[in-house]
């Protein structure tokens, strides 16, 4: 328990550093993303050991649903939008989800086939 709290405090300090950096440098990205980048590079470079943050990080990600609930409850306030624009919203959400899904899939499929082909050519040349 103590260890989990210590780990959480480490992550919290990194998060607050991220938000501070964003304010100081007037960066146009969320502080949480800068914090994530900080932790990532700290892990890669070995400044921060995985064991120092792992348990608390996984606990967060596992129960992330809990953190959304207050926001979804807050949506009640805007229920009117769905009565008026519900169908339009449904169309936009569905269409753009399909675009994201298909563009990503086709690009990756295309690039991987290309890489496989160039690898094969490379082997033939040897």
């Amino acid at each position: 328990m103590v260890r989990a709290i210590a780990q959480f405090l480490t992550i919290l300090v990194i998060y607050l550093t991220g938000t501070r950096l964003v304010t100081w440098l007037e960066l146009p990205v969320p502080g949480s993303i800068v914090g994530m980048a900080l932790l990532f590079f700290a892990l890669v470079s070995g400044v921060c050991k995985l064991q120092w943050v792992e348990a608390a990080a996984q606990l967060h990600i596992k129960h992330i649903t809990l953190l959304f609930i207050p926001f979804i409850v807050g949506v009640w306030h805007f229920a009117g939008i769905f009565r008026v624009e519900g169908i339009k919203l449904a169309i936009i959400l569905a269409a753009s989800s399909l675009v994201v899904l298909l563009v990503t899939a086709f690009m990756a499929e295309y690039l991987e086939t290309k890489r496989k082909r160039s690898n094969q050519n490379g082997n033939n040349n040897l």
Binding site: F68, F71, W76, F106, E112
Partner: protein, 230 residues
């Protein structure tokens, strides 16, 4: 002062306790529609309505969760670090698949909202909807959208992508395991990555990587959207 603190304590504990109970029910009966996201949200809404508490009063008592969404985003560095080798090996594919996917998603939203004459606040709330919720939330705030709406849009489109994704990838004959994982992770984030793990370790890892990559790309592109949407 005392009432503010007791309000925070009350709202936070009600949310946590309801979640714990909802999670238990979900684990026991193992039905998709019993996901605590729906059951607990509806439960809390009913509770607020019955006790005549305003939603705004509840929202003002749940600031702790916004902070935790921030630390949750920082925590995403851990799965990213665990997959660092796979990222290095496939960096070009990951970037050149997730970036166009995320970007065309945003462009489609801007074009559709404009052609359907939706108001700008809704458009700004829709723009970040294809990335993982904690980041969608901060992007929505920076753009001037309505964070609550954004979170709901994120959930709706993730569930939609999760239902239709595997079927669509099948009929479009996507064979590459990397492509399948990336597509589900970019469109359905965490639940997409979970689904991708059912296909295999590689698909699942690609799903989690895609979820984080698309979030980073989205937050870096904010200034670009601000220029385009005005």
């Amino acid at each position: 002062m005392g009432t503010i603190i007791s309000n925070i304590l009350l709202c936070t504990s009600i949310t946590v306790i309801s979640y714990a109970a909802g999670n238990k029910v979900f684990k026991t009966y193992n039905k998709a529609w019993l996901n605590p996201l729906y059951t607990v949200t509806v439960f809390i809404m009913c509770l607020l309505a019955l006790s005549h508490v305003r939603v705004t009063q509840y929202s003002s008592g749940t600031g702790l969760f916004s902070l935790l969404l921030g630390t949750a985003t920082v925590s995403l560095a851990v799965p990213l670090y665990k997959h660092v080798r796979m990222i290095k090996k496939n960096f070009l594919i990951i970037f050149w698949a997730v970036m166009p996917g995320t970007l065309t998603g945003v462009i489609s939203i801007i074009l559709l909202t404009k052609s359907l004459h939706m108001n700008k606040e809704i458009m700004l709330s829709l723009i970040p909807k294809s990335v993982t919720a904690p980041i969608a939330l901060s992007v929505s705030q920076s753009l001037g959208g309505i964070p609550s709406l954004t979170i709901l849009f994120v959930c709706i489109s993730a569930v939609f992508s999760l239902i239709i994704g595997p079927f669509l990838l099948n009929i479009t004959r996507i064979r590459s395991r990397i492509a399948k994982g990336l597509a589900l992770g970019t469109s359905a984030q965490a639940i997409g990555a979970n689904r991708a793990f059912e296909w295999g370790e590689l698909e699942g890892a690609m799903g989690s990587i895609a979820m984080i990559t698309s979030a980073v790309i989205m937050s870096v592109m904010i200034p670009l959207f601000l220029q385009f949407s005005f």
